[in-house]
């Protein structure tokens, strides 16, 4: 069976619809349905030839699998493979740090690209002829963004409020000039909105911070107290009435999105799309939340400024630089934010006791006694200080 891309499938559907209209017309003129169908097909000509002529207009130089978009997408996926493999083998700390940032950005871009691909298909399905379709798509994006915040465990809805404000402003502006804006620019506006709001959520950076007073709306399920200058913040727990309202809106929103997607799937899908949709849906439900939660918890971007302090703590307490696996561990557990606890753990570690003994062997040519080791552990003396004392 000839494989159809989504674009080609739509062309076929358009031509088929023409034939069906022709059949209806012929039936109203008095022909039997079978005769009408035969005559319509004869009159229309070869659908495949016509559709090939139309496909050539959309892809004049490349056939679908080598279209520039496909090549870029393949390069993007390939770059992901290279980045992820590199992070496993590169041990140079500086390059490792850079790779962590690149890896995180790769994740961000992957999420944004996936969102835009979904938007592209939804625009083709709903079209942007009516303002209600535009609002539906904006709402779909908002529901997806709010869900992303929860799945990512960002614990901060501020960026969603920003996205909501941006959505209202854009819908108002676009609605006012609706008839003067072409469908292409309506689509462009939607893409821009989606990219800005997704990036804002992924980077956890409010969009309009400079324009109005900092507000906060934190969810703190683990009851981490809010610190810093944001003294007027409202702490919200998962089971507060406000949070329940948000969750209710999200559940309602998702039910609507699923309903729309079901219609889309039934009406627009090729066989391959339908099969891959089901596969992607099940795989996605399992992998994406775990993976995304993982990305957030790794806090790879956040740990970079802390790296110097971690290095210093390791040099002082253990006399060596941390290994990449150590840094990854602190990023995953976010324990770099509680450095004093990290220090306590390292002071009491077996490695520090072994290091102290090693220094005794190196400078005094004997093993350290248990009391001597305990003394250095309890006094929390740094390795340079211990070396200094032993060499005097």
């Amino acid at each position: 069976m000839k494989r159809l891309t989504y674009q080609n499938h739509l062309i076929q559907e358009e031509l088929n619809s023409h034939v069906l209209d022709l059949v209806d017309d012929l039936v109203t003129q008095g022909l039997t349905p079978t005769a009408a169908q035969q005559q319509a097909l004869q009159q229309f000509g070869d659908i495949n030839t016509i559709s090939q002529a139309v496909i050539k207009i959309h892809h004049p130089r490349f056939n679908w699998y080598w279209s520039p978009q496909t090549i870029l997408l393949l390069l993007f996926i390939l770059s992901g493979g290279v980045i992820f493999t590199s992070t496993l083998f590169i041990t140079t700390p500086l390059i490792h740090d850079v790779l962590l940032i690149v890896k995180l950005w790769w994740y961000y871009l992957a999420i944004i690209i996936a969102g835009q691909l979904l938007n592209y298909r939804l625009i083709q399905y709903f079209s942007l002829r009516r303002i209600t379709s535009f609002i539906t798509l904006i709402l779909t994006n908002l529901v997806a963004s709010a869900s992303l915040t929860i799945v990512l465990d960002i614990d901060d809805f501020e960026t969603n409020l920003d996205a909501l404000i941006l959505a209202i402003v854009l819908t108002g502006l676009i609605g006012y000039f609706w008839k003067h804006i072409s469908m292409r620019w309506r689509a462009v506006t939607l893409y821009i909105f989606s990219i800005i709001s997704t990036l804002s959520i992924l980077l956890n950076k409010p969009l309009w911070q400079g324009l109005y007073q900092a507000r906060c709306f934190y969810i703190t399920p683990d009851n981490i107290p809010l610190t810093g200058t944001l003294t007027s913040c409202t702490q919200v727990t998962w089971f507060s009435p406000l949070m329940l309202l948000i969750l209710l809106c999200l559940v309602g929103g998702w039910l609507l999105v699923i309903y729309k997607l079901k219609n889309y799937w039934l009406n627009r899908g090729t066989k391959i799309w339908q099969r891959s949709f089901v596969a992607m849906f099940f795989l996605g439900t399992i992998i994406i939340p775990i993976k995304i939660h993982d990305i957030n918890n790794q806090a790879e971007l956040d740990i970079i400024p802390w790296k110097y302090r971690i290095d210093k703590v390791y040099l002082n307490i253990l006399g060596r630089l941390p290994e990449n696996k150590d840094v990854d561990f602190y990023a995953t557990t976010r324990s770099f934010e509680h450095m004093s606890k990290v220090q306590d753990t390292l002071y009491k570690s077996n490695e520090r006791r072994l290091k102290i003994n090693q220094l005794y062997q190196q400078f005094l040519q004997r093993n350290a006694t248990k009391a001597e080791i305990d003394n250095y552990v309890n006094n929390k003396k740094t390795i340079p200080v211990i070396i200094n004392e032993l060499t005097q």
């Binding site: 358009e14 207009i57 469908m183 292409r184 009406n267």
Partner: protein
């Protein structure tokens, strides 16, 4: 009377843009509208119509949207601002051209 296909060829885009000037239409309606408005004189085949529609769409002279009516999905085309400008130019060109032809043929 049958019209020479070569004569129709050069003005197909003009015809399509003209019928879409007033309201959005789908392919079958466009073909039918051209046929009835020209009193059955022009019958644009589907093999000609769809490549023209998609070419105009690719050039941003037309934009499209899908609509489901009575359980059947149809792709509607509507004229863009750039399409209207194109139509204006082509119509002026056509008037000049036909006036010149008339001047010679009917002289």
């Amino acid at each position: 009377m049958k019209i020479n296909k070569e004569l129709l060829k050069g003005s197909s885009e003009l015809l399509v843009l003209s019928v879409l000037k007033e309201e959005p239409l789908y392919g079958y309606e466009i073909a039918k509208r051209i046929k009835t408005t020209s009193e059955q004189l022009f019958a644009m085949g589907e093999g000609t119509l769809y490549p023209i529609l998609h070419k105009l769409e690719a050039d941003y002279k037309l934009e499209s949207f899908w609509e489901e009516i009575g359980g059947r999905k149809r792709k509607y085309y509507s004229i863009t601002k750039s399409g209207l400008a194109e139509l204006k130019d082509r119509a002026t060109e056509w008037k000049t051209f036909s006036a010149a032809i008339n001047a010679i043929v009917l002289a």
